[in-house]
């Protein structure tokens, strides 16, 4: 059994690395994307200020805090203040306000945006420490100021874990989906059906062959990016590897489901696009989902890519170890198993 799996795996790998055009494309594309984004997003400024507000966002205390009605500021409800403070440190949030009984706000003393938003807060909520209360015009309460510090997280640092995940997604989905449909169309599968090879053995070989390719390509992209961009990697490499491996397994299995019965590459291509584009847009690869609508946020929780990106960012940016990203790894591995079982059950040689 393992000999048959290995045989198919070796044959598929051989096909992959001898196809020079495909090979270079697999490695060049993500590197080019990282470079393009490094070029485009060297300026970290954004046109809208982002302010975190502690609470579930249901009822903003706008009476006590007229500041919360300021236009052109995006107010983002925050349920986990400690995580949000980290974002203030990395300039991802310009300010964090806790409008509770003992109001406080956090601002990064190194952030220009933070400085500006702080002026807005104090201007709207009163007239700053020295002139508060006397004129009776302002109904605002002056929150207690807490300063934090930290260098800005460049957009390219933030986006890199997502670009790696995105590359894994494309490579996983098309790498098995497209190939198996082509095999079915041109009769390779029919020929294999006539041998003692079982569907299960065939699919396992495809999964591991593609996993090797995905990991190899990701390693090249990661190394290439680390030569060109000085990005942070604060967490454990093992945790990062586990996140990407479980994510790749999950997406490869999803590709197997898509390809389990299709006969034409065009339909497979359409279906794979249908799956990958929502993930690309809603999984927070390019922009944070924090400011998105509730429905979009809920939807994004159902997408495997979201959890790969979250896990990878937790490791690379927040310095998470294996234990901290265990929920993501567990979820992705569980989904992988479910998808693989479904794919094996649905699979037809012709």
């Amino acid at each position: 059994m393992w000999r048959r799996i290995l045989t198919i795996l070796v044959a598929r790998n051989r096909e992959f690395y001898r196809d020079r055009a495909g090979l270079s494309w697999n490695i060049l594309m993500p590197i080019m994307m990282v470079l393009a984004f490094a070029f485009i997003f060297t300026d970290t400024s954004r046109d809208v200020f982002k302010v975190g507000v502690v609470g579930d966002g249901a009822d903003m205390p706008v009476a006590a805090f007229p500041f919360l009605q300021t236009r052109h500021i995006q107010f983002i409800p925050v349920t986990d203040p400690s995580a949000a403070i980290g974002k203030v440190e990395r300039h991802q949030l310009d300010l964090l306000v806790d409008p509770s009984e003992t109001p406080r706000y956090w601002v990064n003393s190194e952030s220009a945006n933070g400085y500006l938003v702080e002026r807005l807060l104090l201007g709207a909520g009163g007239s700053g420490g020295d002139a508060a209360g006397d004129d009776g015009e302002s109904a605002g309460v002056i929150p207690q100021r807490v300063t934090v510090s930290g260098a800005a997280l460049r957009y390219v640092d933030w986006v890199l874990p997502g670009v790696l995940a995105m590359n894994i997604m494309f490579s996983s989905l098309w790498g098995v989906g497209w190939v198996i449909v082509r095999y079915r169309k041109n009769g390779v599968l029919r020929r294999l059906k006539a041998t003692p090879l079982s569907p299960w053995e065939f699919l396992t070989a495809q999964v591991f062959s593609r996993l090797l390719v995905v990991l190899g390509a990701s390693l090249v992209v990661y190394s290439g990016a680390s030569l060109l961009l000085d990005f942070p990697m604060h967490g454990s490499y093992l945790a990062l590897l586990l996140v990407y491996v479980s994510g790749a397994l999950c997406l490869i299995s999803l590709g197997l489901i898509v390809s389990s019965r299709l006969r034409t590459e065009e339909v497979a291509d359409g279906l794979l696009n249908l799956i990958s584009w929502p993930m690309l847009l809603l999984s927070g690869v390019w922009f944070s989902m924090e400011g998105a609508s509730g429905a979009a946020q809920i939807l994004s929780r159902f997408l495997p890519l979201t959890h790969i990106v979250d896990g990878a960012r937790a490791v690379m940016i927040d310095g998470a170890g294996v234990l901290q990203v265990l929920p993501q790894i567990g979820l992705l591995a569980g989904l992988a198993l479910l998808f693989l079982t479904l794919a094996a059950w649905m699979f037809r040689w012709e």
């Binding site: 044959a11 598929r12 196809d19 009769g187 390779v188 029919r190 020929r191 006539a194 041998t195 003692p196």
Partner: protein
């Protein structure tokens, strides 16, 4: 859609059995049911008296009509890939010699000629040293020279005691290779038996053909004659008296042909249409 209906026959061990018929007659469907690739909607296929099971895959070799091999592999790699999928394997060197692959072992499988490709596909079909070999139109698309070479190959395989089931629409191929044939048309077997005997049974007589224009206008045709596509066919158990009769009628003998009936004639007679139509 029902491709074949009520087909039944047996193949004896060591025999070469041919399914003969035009394109779309149901040959490939029948063969695939025997191979275990398709499951019949009704009826059974027995191998050595038992229904087909997983172990069956180990003891048969199949050469499909159209097979793509995995890209970017050499002949040698394709052979060893398929060999690794089976428990029992044929001796590799002998297989390479038998199928005359030595010179193309390191060639990419996409760069093979038609004949080389068929030889590789046959080698792959034999890679597990099967007892039973299925060949689906093995020489279709080959030039006459390669076809003859391939026939020689199949005969060698047969001499080694393999049972062969093949489909073809070449009468010559069936006549040369097969011990028994079944003629299939529109999903049914219309005749079955040894090729030579089938012909003898259906054509006790020799056929003499004349262009219609060679027959004098007004002269009556002998009772056994038939007009077909501008040709007059006369059937004779004894040739000389028939020739004498034709001469008496005053026919022009320039384009006269005496033909011993073959499978092609048999097919025409049984189905009323040409094999390649």
């Amino acid at each position: 859609m029902r491709a074949v209906d009520g087909i039944g026959f047996r193949v004896d061990a060591g025999q070469c059995f041919g399914l003969l018929g035009p394109n779309g007659a149901g040959k490939t469907t029948t063969l695939e049911m025997l191979e275990g690739i398709q499951t019949p909607t009704s009826g059974t296929v027995l191998y050595r008296g038992r229904p087909l099971d997983r172990a069956y895959r180990e003891s048969v070799g199949i050469q499909f009509q159209a097979t793509a091999l995995q890209d970017f592999q050499t002949v040698r790699e394709s052979l060893s890939m398929f060999a690794s999928l089976y428990r029992r394997t044929a001796d590799r060197d002998e297989l390479i010699r038998l199928c005359n692959l030595a010179e193309i072992l390191d060639r990419d499988t996409r760069k093979l000629s038609g004949g080389q490709r068929q030889r590789l596909l046959l080698a792959i079909a034999l890679v597990n040293d099967p007892d039973l070999v299925f060949l689906d139109e093995p020489t279709t698309g080959l030039d006459p020279q390669s076809r003859r070479n391939f026939w020689g190959l199949i005969e060698t395989v047969r001499r080694r005691g393999k049972t062969i089931v093949l489909t073809t629409h070449y009468m010559e191929e069936a006549e040369r290779l097969c011990d028994r044939i079944a003629i299939v048309d529109h999903g049914r077997i219309i005749a079955e038996g040894q090729p030579a005997r089938l012909v003898r049974d259906h054509f006790p007589a020799t056929v003499i053909r004349l262009p219609e224009s060679a027959w004098p206008v007004g002269a009556t045709l002998p009772p056994t004659a038939e007009r077909r596509d501008g040709t007059i066919e006369l059937f004779a158990e004894e040739v000389p008296p028939m020739l004498a009769e034709i001469e008496r009628a005053g026919a022009d003998l320039t384009d006269l042909r005496v033909a011993t009936p073959n499978l092609e004639d048999l097919f025409l007679k049984l189905t009323g249409h040409d094999l390649r139509s």
